[in-house]
């Protein structure tokens, strides 16, 4: 079979079609939310929410098995959505208080999330394989129903994240100014937290709860090496997220390696390459005076003969290049 035929076969497989659509949606949406999280210095928030989401998944399983719903994981995603939103709102409230003891409370919440998830999953009759699927992703087993969930939530995240980016940027960049402008700071912070929670639940399918944060943060880390503006960082990060997700997924079509880990490793390799190349690509700006418009505050005889006579001009008079 030629390479082209192989690609066509791959694209013809319904399994792969669903997986690629999920990868594109998640890869595009996760870095949009990640940009706000990095700006708010909450790059690790996705990690914590992911841990808590696992308990939600397990609770969904447990409820599903009690109610004898089949398949047993029907309620896993709704459970994850609820747990992730609760978790992210708690994280946001702790951040708002700014207490140091909050750090410890969050740590306990995160560990409780993973431990509780593993324990409840076992009680619900889940297998180790299903647990691994949630921990590290199981994109190759995305069902049509999963795809609808993912698509709906990803579109919601993209619409809110992009549509309100001005207000969300204002709150993320300078909370004090946002408050002094009468912006609903708390509400907007909760919007960011909820977007993070929804992103975690959809990205869970692709890379798993333990690697969710990487898909939100690493593309932003790559983009901000080169981008000048916030908007450009977000757009480039979204593009990178989509690209690494699809490429990582396609690689696993031919080689039997875990897709979630492949996507994350790929993103980190791109970051390493971008970080190494960055000084080479941006060196040409280094020689120019960063502030050519500024008049020289300190007057020296070499440039200004007047300053040799101390009584001549007032001490505060600016130098020679005043506009």
């Amino acid at each position: 079979m030629t390479g082209w035929e192989q690609v066509l076969t791959m694209l013809g497989s319904p399994l792969m079609q669903r997986a690629i659509i999920a990868a594109v949606l998640v890869g595009a949406a996760a870095p949009v939310v990640g940009t706000f999280l990095v700006q708010r210095r909450m790059a690790l928030m996705g990690d914590g929410v992911g841990h808590v989401a696992l308990t939600g998944v397990a609770l969904g399983w447990l409820v599903g098995s009690w109610a004898a719903i089949s398949p047993a994981d029907t309620l896993a995603v709704p459970g994850a959505v609820i747990a992730a939103i609760v978790g992210s709102v708690v994280i946001e409230l702790v951040r708002e208080r700014g207490r140091t003891s909050g750090d410890l409370a969050l740590a306990i919440m995160f560990y409780g999330g993973i431990a509780g998830g593993v324990l409840l999953m076992n009680l619900a009759g889940g297998t180790n394989a299903s647990l691994m699927g949630y921990l590290f992703g199981s994109i190759s087993t995305v069902s049509t129903q999963d795809l609808w969930w993912t698509a709906a939530l990803a579109v919601l995240v993209l619409c809110v994240g992009v549509g309100l980016r001005g207000a969300l940027f204002a709150v993320s960049h300078d909370e004090e100014f946002a408050r002094a402008s009468g912006l609903p700071v708390r509400l907007l912070s909760m919007v960011v937290a909820t977007l993070a929670a929804l992103t975690v639940t959809i990205a869970m399918r692709v890379v798993g709860v333990l690697l969710v944060s990487a898909l939100m943060i690493v593309p932003v880390a790559i983009a901000q090496l080169y981008a000048r503006s916030f908007g450009r960082t977000m757009a480039v990060a979204s593009g990178i997220g989509t690209t690494v997700s699809v490429v990582g997924l396609v690689v696993t079509y031919w080689r039997d390696i875990p897709p979630g880990a492949t996507i994350v490793v790929l993103a980190i390799v791109v970051y390493a390459a971008a970080a190494v190349l960055q000084p080479l690509l941006t060196r040409r700006h280094a020689d120019s005076d960063p502030h050519p418009d500024m008049s020289d505050d300190v007057v020296v005889p070499a440039s200004d003969p007047d300053c040799a006579t101390p009584a001549g001009s007032a001490a505060g008079e600016p130098g020679t290049s005043v506009r």
């Binding site: 300078d174 609903p184 000048r228 418009d293 505050d297």
Partner: protein
Amino acid sequence: MNAIDASDLQVVLGGRPVVRGVDLTVPSGQVLALLGANGSGKSTLVRGLLGVVPLAAGSVHLLGEPLGRATPWQRIGYVPQRMAAGGGVPATALEIVVSGLLHGRRLRPPRDRRARATAALEKLGVGHLRDRRVQEMSGGQQQRVLIARALVREPALLVLDEPTSGVDVPTQETFVAALSGLRDAGTTVVVILHELGAFTPLIDRAVVLRHGRVVHDGPPPAARGEHGEAGHDHTHPHADPEQPLEGPDLTLEVAP
């Protein structure tokens, strides 16, 4: 109408009273300097007036409306002491100034945001830096961007928190020129200053705070000794020890 009407204002931060029973009325069009040592509560008072920190007691009216949802935020501009650091995501001067077009009644920037933000930056002499990362700018350039962000709304009440700290002389002169233009246009200005310096000719009234209370309200006080001399530029950073909040001030003198 008064631009600011505050009575019996109290702010408690971390369990300590920082602003203690301040009454402040600023008529429209006045330029008021808020003076005081570090830790005297100047910044906290201003942040309380604008709703940045919660009030423990007292009431505030801004431009005739109570502080809260009814406040006409689109007519109030605030310039914090320095640029927020953020988490390292780059932002251009344009993006920062456009964020000044948002307020309690507007969550999405208007269509003419680019033109308005560019005009505000040009007014402060940094139009050419519009598409540059603010993280790469000098302190003075960042301060100009912050003032542009407050002015882009065309505020009727402008509040500045030490706009000249750590700023070079030409930039200070730009600020004084910008403020005198605003005063002539009838804008009410409240400016926190460490010393009056270049602002002296603009100031209508000075309020001096000490330990969270008003100790002087009236014409600007004369600066001490060498600080009052013409041309004295006094912009070094201060690191005064924190003043005790309660009890008599203790002075210890060491004999030579």
